[in-house]
Symmetry: D2
């Protein structure tokens, strides 16, 4: 491990996604023979005490309290942006101008305009860029992609995605940054719906038009803040307005004629993180659900009559994407491994001077869809992309 | 069984639904102590050979080849309409005028106007009426209804229904009556989507507005006919135009603020008859799937932390609706039993001079929703109800 | 239906199994084109009030309070024995001597000796005989049989069966006849374990040797009686000794080398009627569970690498055994239909003068296994068959 | 992370389990605030090229080709034994005499006598010891333990475990060390059955007596070797005798009266690593399956009638054991994390001078059960423990 060239990471932010990314950099060399070895060079955050603790806990070599200083450092090759969404654009553009490769959390930005400026910046400055739609990198999802590309599913009629969570049903859950439009851009739409949209684009193709509805079921909440992961604490004495959607549902037509439906919500009790989709094609169907992420359900219409049915495929065999790096068949991996695969791909791209995906172009396209969804919901009409 | 007053049934039609209804009348007295005993008095169909065979096979006392003669018979109390959809209105209106109680398959009619005339006729002639939304009568669905009425689910945020079939994916599946607008009214929408809409109305309440998209994936098919159930045979030498939808997806808002999504399709490979829904409320969630119709999945948010999760309830215990009439717990029932429950309710209503549900009013409301869905899909806009 | 020759049934007993059999005779002509039409001629029971009520409710033409009179009647062709187990032998032997065909519930008798006398009687008197191991007649189980016979599973390594119930965990559940050795012969072993053993013999072949353990977890219970199905009522003021097993577990070797394990219990909370098995062979595996009885899970080792996995086959297609008689694919059937299939087979056998299976020979073999299991449990050693 | 006292690990062996342990030491500080920080000091193996590659790939600071040298090093606090089973005893005893703490893979040894000498050695030398029954450390299994200890399940009637694999069904799978008695001690029994036995002891208590059967379905295989994980390569030109069991089934009685059944096999096609158990008690039942290891199914008999059923609990909430260290609820972890939890416990024990479990005492008890199982299978009789 020690003999490979290092690639030095500077991370801006340190909460839920900061933890996921940090772990992925640390764990990557153990499992994958990436040509580069990531060094956790510097982590940045405004709260010195908190960032220092994060630095220690997650094994970063140094910390900064001003992200500009990270960009200014010569010993940083990659800027990894895991801040709340409203800060993505400014940091990414500055990082591009500083000649750093960039990896950022999704959604890319708060607006299409911002995201386009970000894309322009990375292209102009000729740096590599990545957006963390990590669910593409689940082995079962990669397997789905392979089956589709091999023609095993045939012409696709339906893409049907649900991303269901339940962490804010309690009206006393506080008004954290994820519930403020000026910080997060949107609610369920950009946070989780964006993932389903990315999977749709990855697996099926581009969307042509959408119509949608959005809802905020709980319109006021006590002021408060995230305490890690999706937990939070609040003080019920002061209330503030929720300015993002709690739920969104979308009808979509894809350019290839596929019929798409999407629903994302934070109000589906009992669904902690139910990110699932089903694809129906002329030759077969595919079902996947993040809560059992190692499994892929596949129906093949050319199976012999009488023994047709969805196969429950545990994508942990050597033949399955990424799975050979881990354990014998039947020994499952988890959420965090999706980031390892994503980082592996990103760093290989840098090493090979190849632009990997999903990247800022995907981010812009995703952002345009998010904007079209919001517009269609507001104007109660179909919006073309 | 023999000592009860008889109620004499005249059935118009004899295919898939005719079989389901016939069986239900025959089986009803065995399981339920209904105050009336149905007599399978007369069955009608235009093809004498076929109707005679049906009469013999299904145990009817007599047959007619002209439905007007059934209505004219004094020994018939109830007209049961299981013809293709386009004949519902004429027969039902004539039956009402003949003073017969009426039970009909869904959708009620081809158009809202027709369905309204049907409702007017039964009301004016003061006869009892029923529409066969049989899925209401699954014990697990009745249990869901009870939980909602008891307040166990609380305010409902989401109703999410999919009705997925796959019997016409093959482009050589022939152009049967179910695929002709002038006979069936619509395709997946009226045939299966209508069931989901009825369940939504039954469990959640009335819809306020909808927007939808519809698609016909295979636009031409060989001329042919149903051969029973959902099977068919065709002759590929002559092609005809498919004039109904293969798939429909709907966004809906309920009057009580619930967020509704519906999808019905005949192009979801591997899903033979996947009729399912999920309800998410502030206190709990409910999931149900017709392929495992005896089960209800229920999440209760007030379960103790640490042991929260969807409960898989096998609704076959004496305490579950209708289940006590059958077998010990864990011994499941099937599709056909839903009709027994529906007939039991209908005949009790007649005996007690009480109008049961779902009835022609439900049929009209359902038809208005179907029409609004079609309009919204054609005009690509939201339509209010 | 009316034009076929009738076969006239005389049933002795009228509780849970009496209901299942009565229904099957009534329903059989509706679904299957059996050459004979069963007539529910006479039902017998000692309690006149109860048997009269059963006669009425289940549609029998007459009743008797002494089973000898049923055997004496000329208008009875078949004796159907659904009494508690201790009465099987006497009735069956007398029925054979009276020249009646016989169908009986399982287990065949209380002892091997009894069962052998029963077999001798039917053979000597040349009547047809059947034992109601109804689970053989589940379409999914028949499908499993087909796959095995077609060589799709290959050499079988493992047969693994569990039959789990929970209806007597409560120590206040009364001491009904099912818990008294002199009436039932054994407990979980003969009541439900016998079914698993029959499935093993049907699907895999004969057993060679067994070793077992048995347990009675609750040794005393209040005196009481069944009230229908598996429900009961008791009076806690007087206690009696439970003289049968609550649970049994068996290791077995089959003659063909298959490794068998069985467990049957009435103390598995949450398992209302979990009758399941798994078969593992060199070319594939099969899983089945009565709670989802329409499904068969099949793994085929020659499926392409990468898409291997258990297929969830909903055995409701026309191509599946018995399924074509019912509804379109995906519309499930239930517990009661297994008896229709069994009766269909039995009556065809009578018509064609062919001895169908499972029959008294199967009953004797099953009884020998039950006896060997009991002996091995008592003597704590392997017992050869 | 860097400020904590280090605990220096010397690992003997470097294959499947070496990888799992190495990863756990590396990952532990990231997730858990263990008072000690493991240092991957030295890894040993006889094949210099291979061990050097392992050292590099897994991040060890140095390597040795003779394990005696690892024991002799002053800079090593803990010896971690991940060799094939036959080497456990010699290394462990020497390590104990060298005053090192010891962690070893299971089964503890090849024989009871060996295992007892190992226990004696660690006790005499007063070092800490651990055996890697990692499945105890699955959050869902820990949750099961809590529920049992809280009395939520009540008196336990049944423990039922299956550990099913399928990696050697192909008769051309070579004769690797796992299939040679002199190296591995036993086959399915010690490799996977031992895990089920450990879970039984952990969750239910000690076994009192067993009877078992064992089988070797494929008696000769081509000579060959493991190539990592459970993969292997062979050369079919030379055959050797398989000297271990392919499958084992066990009946057991626990000291507390629980009825136990176990089955372990490598011949259950489609089951890559199906490690599962079910517990039935007077107040509830528990089901768990390693292929969906984050889930625990729990039935509570005191749930309200009508809504009773197994709850599917995704043990990824902060309230679940170990889960708070990772991701928000619904984001699953995998196989490798079980080792992190085990190492966390072991190192805490060393720091607090507390002997953690499972340890060599557990290993000895497990070994005695394995021996009793083998004896009972050979002598075809019950063996007391």
């Amino acid at each position: 491990m020690g003999v490979k060239p290092k690639i030095r990471i500077g991370m801006i932010g340190y909460q839920f996604m900061g933890k996921a990314h940090s772990h992925a950099y640390r764990d990557l060399p153990f499992y994958f023979d990436n040509p580069l070895e990531p060094e956790l060079t510097v982590i940045a955050g405004r709260n010195e005490e908190a960032v220092k603790e994060a630095q220690q806990k997650m094994g970063w070599l140094s910390y900064e309290t001003d992200w500009h200083r990270v960009l200014a450092r010569d010993d940083v090759d990659v800027i990894d942006i895991v801040t709340p969404n409203h800060a993505h654009a400014e940091i990414a553009i500055a990082a591009a101008e500083a000649g750093k490769h960039i990896i950022t959390e999704k959604p890319l930005a708060l607006t299409v305009e911002e995201s386009e400026r970000m894309l322009e910046a990375v292209q102009k400055n000729n740096v590599k860029h990545m957006i963390c739609h990590n669910y593409r990198f689940v082995p079962a999802v990669q397997m789905a992609k392979q089956l589709i590309e091999q023609g095993r599913i045939g012409r696709i009629f339906h893409f049907r995605a649900n991303y269901l969570q339940d962490f804010i049903i309690d009206p006393n859950f506080p008004l954290v940054w994820r519930l403020k439009k000026e910080v997060s851009g949107s609610g369920a739409l950009g946070d989780i719906g964006a993932h389903s949209i990315d999977l749709a684009r990855f697996l099926v193709g581009e969307l042509k038009e959408v119509t949608a509805m959005m809802e905020t079921f709980v319109k006021e909440r006590p002021i408060g803040e995230m305490t890690g992961g999706l937990s939070a604490k609040g003080d019920t004495s002061e209330m503030g307005e929720v300015t993002v959607d709690d739920a969104v549902a979308i009808l979509a037509r894809f350019e290839n004629g596929t019929f798409g439906t999407f629903e994302a919500t934070r109000f589906a009790g009992g669904n902690r993180n139910k990110n699932k989709f089903e694809i129906n094609g002329e030759k077969g169907s595919i079902r996947w659900d993040m809560e059992n992420m190692n499994n892929l359900e596949v129906y093949l219409a050319d199976d012999e009559t009488g023994v047709q049915g969805f196969r429950l495929i545990n994508c942990t065999e050597e033949v399955h994407p990424y799975a050979g790096a881990y354990w014998p068949a039947g020994h499952i991996i988890g959420y965090e491994h999706t980031f390892i695969h994503l980082m592996d791909e990103f760093l290989r791209g840098i090493h090979e001077n190849r632009q990997t995906a999903p990247n800022f172009e995907d981010g812009v396209k995703n952002q345009r869809i998010l904007a079209a969804v919001e517009q269609s919901a507001q104007e109660k009409r179909w919006v073309s992309l």
